[in-house]
Assembly symmetry: C2
Homo-oligomer: 458 residues x 2
C-alpha cells in the first residue's frame, strides 16, 4: 500500500445493501467500518412472521458483528449516525466522528404516514424487530382483552383487525392474521370465537399488490378472500383514533390497526444535502454516487434511480444487494487504478469513467398465507401452492446464517403440519390503545366501547 494508510470505507446501515457491500469489500486492501444503530441485521421479508407469532426474533435476525466476524478488515460500530461533513469527509455520530475515504449510505426506509405522524402509535408499521414485537403484542392482547370482557358477561362481538395498504407487507399480514384466527387460535378461548374475527385489508388504489401484473393481483384477491380477508379497494383512510378507523363516511371500531401503506426514506438522506424525490430518496447518479461527490454512494431503499425503461427501481432486497456489490467493486477498481498510477506516474490521476448500475428484474414473489402466494418471473405468472413453494425456497435459501436457516425450516415444517404458532408471547406493556377503559381502577362495562363496527359499505 506504498506506506499510505489503507483506504477507509464507511458503510452506514447494515441492511441488505450495506451488508453486501461490506462482504464484497472483505479481504480488499481497504479498512471497512459498518455503522448501524441496531446490533443486528434484520431479514425484513420475514418480519411479518414475527409480527404474527410464527417465528421468534432470533430466527430472522443475526448480530451484524457475528455475520462479519471472519473479515478482519471490517469493524462494526453500533451507533446512531447524526449527520455527515462531506467536505471534511467524516460521518458524525452522537459521540464521535468517523473519517472516510469512500462513504456508502445504505440507511433504508421507514413508514410514511402522509402528514399524519400522530397515527404512528395507533397504527404501527413493520420495519424493525421492535415493530414486529409491538404488532404481535397488540394482536395477541386484543384477543386476551376480548376474552376477559366476554367472560365478565360483556360484549361478545367479534373483533375487527384492519391492515392499511395492500402491498406485499399488507397482504402478508392480512392473510396470516386470517389464518391465525381460523386455526392457531381457534380452540384456545372459551368465551369468544377467534374464527369470527374480521380482517379488513384497506387499499387506496383499485387493486391489491398494485405493482404486480393484473392477473396476479386478481389471483391474490381471490386467495385473500378464500382465507376470509375482507378486502376494501379504492378506500382511503381519513382518520385514525384510539380503537377507531375512519374511511370517508365510514367509522369502524378496530381492536388493532396496522400500517403498511407508505414508505419514507431515512432522514439521513436529507443530511447529504443533495436533491431528493418526494419520498425523501436521494437522486443518485447512474453510478450510485451523489452529484459532485464521486466518493459518496447511496444504495438500497434510500436511493432513487430509474432503470433503462425509465421506471423507478423498486425498494426490494435484490436491488439493494446488487447495488451493494456494484459499489464495492467500483471502490476496489478505483483503489487499484490509483495504486497503479502512483507507481507509473506521480501526477494526480484523472477520474476514470465509471460504469452505470443496471438492474435486471429476475422476478417478484409475494406470499399471502399457507400455500397461497403469487409469483412473476418475466412473462411467467404463477399463483397458489406452486408460487408459495417458490417463495419458501427463495426465502429460506437467502436467510442469513446456516443455523437460522435450519431452525426456520423446522419451525415452518412444524407450523405447516400443526397450524401451531410457536412464538405467541405477549411481552412488555399489557395495555392497548383504545382499550383504556379496561385499565381504570374503577371498572364497569363501557357499552359504547364495546359497540363494534358500523356499516362498512354504505
Amino acid at each position: 500500500m506504498n506506506g499510505k494508510a489503507a483506504h477507509r470505507v464507511v458503510i452506514v446501515g447494515a441492511g441488505f445493501g450495506g451488508l453486501n457491500a461490506a462482504e464484497a469489500l472483505a479481504g480488499a486492501s481497504v479498512r471497512v467500518t459498518v455503522i448501524d444503530r441496531k446490533n443486528h441485521h434484520t431479514f425484513q421479508p420475514l418480519l411479518y412472521q414475527v409480527a404474527t407469532a410464527g417465528l421468534s426474533p432470533g430466527e430472522i435476525a443475526a448480530p451484524i458483528r457475528s455475520i462479519l466476524r471472519r473479515h478482519r478488515n471490517v469493524e462494526v460500530l453500533m451507533a446512531e449516525v447524526t449527520g455527515f461533513d462531506l467536505e471534511r469527509r467524516v460521518v458524525q455520530t452522537a459521540d464521535q466522528e468517523v473519517p472516510y475515504d469512500s462513504l456508502i449510505v445504505a440507511a433504508g426506509a421507514s413508514h410514511a404516514y402522509f402528514g399524519h405522524d400522530e397515527w404512528e402509535t395507533l397504527a404501527p408499521g413493520l420495519k424493525t424487530i421492535e415493530d414486529a414485537l409491538e404488532i404481535r403484542r397488540r394482536v395477541l392482547l386484543a384477543f386476551e382483552l376480548a376474552e376477559r370482557h366476554a367472560s365478565a358477561g360483556e360484549s361478545r362481538d367479534p373483533l375487527n383487525f384492519v391492515v392499511v395498504g395492500a402491498g406485499p407487507t399488507g397482504v402478508e399480514l392480512a392473510g396470516t392474521l386470517a389464518e391465525i384466527c381460523r386455526h392457531a387460535l381457534a380452540h384456545d378461548f372459551r368465551s369468544i370465537d377467534p374464527r369470527l374475527t374480521h380482517i379488513h385489508l384497506v387499499e387506496g388504489g383499485p387493486h391489491v399488490l398494485p405493482a404486480y401484473p393484473e392477473d396476479l393481483s386478481r389471483s391474490a384477491l381471490q386467495q385473500l378472500q378464500r382465507l376470509g380477508v375482507e378486502v376494501l379497494t379504492s378506500t382511503v383512510v381519513t382518520q385514525i383514533e384510539p380503537g377507531i378507523i375512519c374511511m370517508g363516511e365510514t367509522r369502524m371500531k378496530a381492536a388493532v390497526i396496522l400500517w403498511a401503506a407508505g414508505v419514507a426514506a431515512s432522514p439521513l438522506g436529507k443530511k447529504l444535502g443533495v436533491p431528493g424525490d418526494r419520498a425523501g430518496r436521494v437522486l443518485v447518479e447512474p453510478d450510485l454516487s451523489i452529484p459532485n461527490h464521486p466518493e459518496v454512494f447511496v444504495i438500497g431503499d434510500l436511493a432513487a434511480l430509474k432503470d433503462a425503461s425509465g421506471k423507478m427501481l423498486p425498494g426490494v432486497a435484490p436491488v439493494a444487494i446488487l447495488q451493494g456489490r456494484f459499489v464495492a467493486k467500483l471502490i476496489c477498481r478505483q483503489i487499484h487504478r490509483e495504486m497503479e498510477l502512483a507507481r507509473t506516474s506521480p501526477a494526480q490521476p484523472e477520474p476514470a469513467p465509471r460504469p452505470a448500475f443496471h438492474y435486471r428484474d429476475k422476478g417478484n414473489l409475494a406470499t399471502i398465507g399457507r400455500a397461497a402466494a403469487v409469483a412473476q418471473f418475466g412473462k411467467i405468472h404463477i399463483s397458489g401452492f406452486m408460487a408459495w413453494l417458490a417463495w419458501l425456497f427463495v426465502h429460506i435459501l437467502f436467510l442469513i446464517g446456516f443455523r437460522n436457516r435450519v431452525l426456520v425450516f423446522i419451525q415452518w415444517a412444524w407450523s405447516y403440519a400443526t397450524y401451531e404458532r410457536g412464538a405467541r408471547l405477549i411481552t412488555g406493556s399489557t395495555s392497548l390503545p383504545g382499550w383504556s377503559g379496561l385499565h381504570s381502577e374503577n371498572p364497569g362495562p363501557s357499552e359504547a366501547e364495546q359497540e363494534m363496527s358500523v356499516a362498512i359499505h354504505k
Copy 2:
C-alpha cells in the same frame, strides 16, 4: 351434578404450581379458571439462557391457553389480580370479580432488594421473560459501548460485570457470562477483547450455592474459577449507583450489575390477610390451606411450610408441581364426598380430616456452564460433566411442550458444538445506566467515567 352449578376452582398464577393444579383438575367435574397477568408460562429454570442470549424467549415460554387448550373445563384469563374477598369468595381483578368455591393462590415470588428498592433499575433480577431480555440487552450493549469508546481512541480497559448472590441463579449467570466472553464474543470485536472481561460473583455468605452440601459448594467454586469467574464470598453489597457497586470500603466500576440475591413472595400473599413469614410467604396449614379457610390454598414459592424434619421446603419447581397436584386431589376428593353425602343424607356434611402434604426431596441440580454443574441425589454427590448431563436431561425432559423440547435440544447441540449464541439481539432502548455520558449531544471523552475498577480486596 344434581342440578347444581359445577364447583368453581380459581387458580391465581400459571407457574409450575398453578399449571399442574389446573392439569390435575382437567376432566374433573369442576370449572377451572386460571388467572395470570402474563399470557405465557415461563420455564424459569432456563431463563438464564435467555438472559445470556443462548435461547429465544419463545423457546422457554408457551402461551398458557395453548398448554391448557384441550381441557374443555379450564378457562384462562389474562388479568392482574388486585385482591381477594374471602367472605364473598371472589377474586378481584382490575375490571371484574371472579367467584370461586375453591381458590388456589400460586402467585410465586420476585426479587428482594432488602429495603433498597431503588437498586432494582440499576441491578435487575431474573424472574420474567422481560427481565431476561433486559439483562441480555444490558450485557450486549455494554460490549457495544465499550467497542465504540475504544474505537474512538478512548479507554480500552476491560469491562467489569458483577452478579450479586451465589445461589443457583447467580452461579448460572456468572458461569454463562464468563463462557460468552471467552468464546461466543471472543472474535467479534476489533478494538476491545471480550476475553479480558472480569466477571465478579459476590456472595454475602461464606460459600457459593449455600443450600448445597459443602463438598458440592467447593466443587462449584472450583468450576466457576476454572471458567474465569472471580468469586467474592462473605462480601456484602452496601451501595449501588449507576455504573458503580460498593462492597464496604470497596468501590468498583461495573458496566452491568445483576441481582440474584434475594427472593420476596408475591404481594398477593399479604392480601389474604393471614400471617406470613419475613419473606412475605404465607404460613399454610399442613394441607396447604390457610387458617380458617379450608377452601383457600396457597402453593409454590408463595407458601411457607416445614417438612417433617422442621426444615423449610425450598422454593423450587418440584415442590410447586407436587403441591399443585396435591391440592387438586384434595379438591376432587372433597367434591366427590359432598356428592356422595348429598345422595345419602341431606344434612350439611362435617369437614373430613385431610392428609398433610409431604415432600420427599429427590435431589438438587445446579448448572454452572458448559459441561459444568453439581448434583445431589440423596447421599450421591456428583459434579462436572456427569452432573451437567443429568441437569440437561432433567431440564429438557420437563420443558413444556414437545415442539419447544425438540428445538431447545437442537439449539443446545448447536451451541455446544460451536460455542455460538443464537439470540444475541439488542431490542428496546439503546441506553445503559451508568453510561449516560455517551448519549449527550456534546461528546468528548469523560476520563473519569472510563476509569475502571479499584482495588477489590484491600
